[in-house]
C-alpha cells in the first residue's frame, strides 16, 4: 500500500489531471522560489485557458512568462505584473485579463482558502479602485472591505527539502507565497531540491505539513536572479 508516500518521479505524473480552464495557484515572489519545472511542464502540456494566481507573472522567457508564449493564460490574479513585454502586449490586445489584488490581500486570500475561511475583512484598498463593488463595513469606527478566499484546482509550489510524506521546508525568502498556495490547492504539487528521509525534518520546524501536499518531486533549478545587486567584498 502506498500509505503517505507522495513522491512521483516524472513531471508528467506531477501535473497529471491538469485540464484546460483550471485555476492554478503558484508560489514565488518575482523569480524567487518559483516552481520553474512545474511551470515548464504546464507549457509542455499546452494546457490552455488557465487562470493563474501568483504575485507576479515571471519575465519574458522564464517563470510564468513562458506560459504567455503560446497564450495558455486567460487570466492572471497578481499584485504586480508587467516585468515582461509579452504580458504587456497581450494585455493591450485584450488577450489576457488581469485582476490586480494588493499583495497582502492576495496572501491572506490564499491562506483563507486553505483554512476554510470563505471571506474576511481588511482595511487594505478601502476608497481605492480595488474597493469598487465590494462590501464596506465599519468596525471600531474604521472602514474595511470584505475580501473572499481563493482556492485552486492545482497549487504548484517550490520547496527546499521535503520528505516522502510531503512535509516541506523552504529556504530563506524563497518561502514567500509557497506555503499559502500549498494549503489552497485541490491538488498540491511540490517540487524540491532534495528529498530527505522521513524523520529527518524536525517536526516543530516544518513549514508545510504533509496533510496539504499530494505530490512531491525532486528537480534541478536554474534559480535565475532578477535584480543582481552586490557590494564589493570588504
Amino acid at each position: 500500500m502506498a500509505g503517505f508516500d507522495k513522491v512521483v518521479t516524472s513531471y508528467e505524473d506531477a501535473m497529471a489531471g491538469l485540464e484546460d480552464g483550471m485555476t492554478v495557484l503558484a508560489g514565488g515572489f518575482g523569480l524567487c522560489g518559483i516552481p520553474e519545472n512545474l511551470i515548464q511542464e504546464i507549457k509542455r502540456r499546452q494546457t490552455r485557458d488557465l487562470t493563474i494566481v501568483s504575485n507576479n507573472c515571471g519575465v519574458d522567457g522564464f517563470g510564468l512568462g513562458v506560459l504567455l508564449e503560446d497564450k495558455q493564460v486567460r487570466k492572471m490574479v497578481s499584485s504586480y505584473v508587467g516585468e515582461n513585454a509579452l504580458f504587456e502586449k497581450q494585455l493591450l490586445d485584450g488577450e489576457l485579463e488581469v485582476e490586480l489584488t494588493p499583495q497582502g490581500t492576495l496572501a491572506e486570500k490564499m491562506r483563507a482558502g486553505g483554512a476554510g475561511i470563505p471571506a474576511f475583512f481588511t482595511a487594505t484598498g478601502v476608497g481605492t479602485p480595488i474597493g469598487e463593488g465590494k462590501e464596506v463595513r465599519v468596525f471600531n469606527g474604521r472602514e474595511y472591505l470584505m475580501e473572499e478566499a481563493i482556492t485552486g484546482d492545482f497549487a504548484i509550489v517550490k520547496g527546499w527539502k521535503a520528505d516522502r510524506y510531503g512535509n516541506v521546508i523552504y529556504r530563506h525568502t524563497a518561502q514567500n507565497f509557497n506555503p499559502l498556495a500549498a494549503t489552497a490547492g485541490k491538488i498540491t504539487v511540490v517540487e524540491v531540491e532534495e528529498i530527505v528521509e522521513v524523520g529527518e525534518l524536525d517536526p516543530a520546524q516544518i513549514h508545510t505539513p504533509g496533510i496539504y501536499v499530494d505530490r512531491v518531486i525532486q528537480g534541478t533549478f536554474e534559480k535565475r536572479i532578477e535584480k543582481r545587486t552586490v557590494r564589493s567584498a570588504d
Binding site: G30, G104, A107, I225
Partner: protein
Amino acid sequence: MALTREQMAQRVAQELQDGFYVNLGIGIPTLVANFIPEGMEVMLQSENGLLGMGEFPTEETIDADMINAGKQTVTAVKGASIFSSAESFAMIRGGHVDLTVLGAFEVDVNGNIASWMIPNKLIKGMGGAMDLVAGADNIIVTMTHASKSGESKLLTDCSLPLTGKGCIKKVLTDLAWLEIADGAFILKERAPGVSIEEIQEKTQGKLIVPDHVPEMVFA
C-alpha cells in the same frame, strides 16, 4: 535650494528611533537606510517575508533565494527572521511596523494618497503599497513637491486613483516637511534656502503656515 534625494533620505532618517521596525519603499525611501544615526538600531522589514534586511551580498555570498521586496539580492542581519507572505502582511496589516516610508504621485489635505495608477498608462499593480498605507499608523510619504512642469502634488483632492484613503499624516518633499491635520497641510519645516512663498505657490491644497517655520537642519 530644493533637497537632493540624499538630503530627503537624511531628513526622513531623523524620524527614526532606536528599536524601530521600518519598512522602506523603493526609491528615495530605500536611501534612508544609509542615514541611520550611529549607534541606533533599526530593523528593516521587507514585505516578501524578511525582518532584518541587511546590506547587499558580495559576489561570493549572493544567493537567489535571498531577495527583498524590490527583488534585489540582499543579506539578513543577525537576529533576522524569515516567514511567509501571509505572516509578513499580518505584521504590516496588524500595525506592528513602527514606520513606513514610501513614495507617491499625489497626496491631499484629507490624507489620501495616490501612488500606483495613472489612467491610460500601463498599470503594473500596487504590489504591497495598499497594505502598507492601510496597515501603518506612522507613514512618511517622500516625493517632489511639484511635477517637472510645476504642477503641485499636494492637493485638495487627489486626481489619480487612490492607494489609500485618509492614512497619510506626514509628507517630506524636496521643499518642505509637512503634516496633515484637519483638512490642511501644516508647514513644519522648509528646505534650507527655500522661501515660504515658493512652498505656498507650489501647494495646491490648503496650507497652514505657522508664525515660525524653521529651516531643516542637517548634521
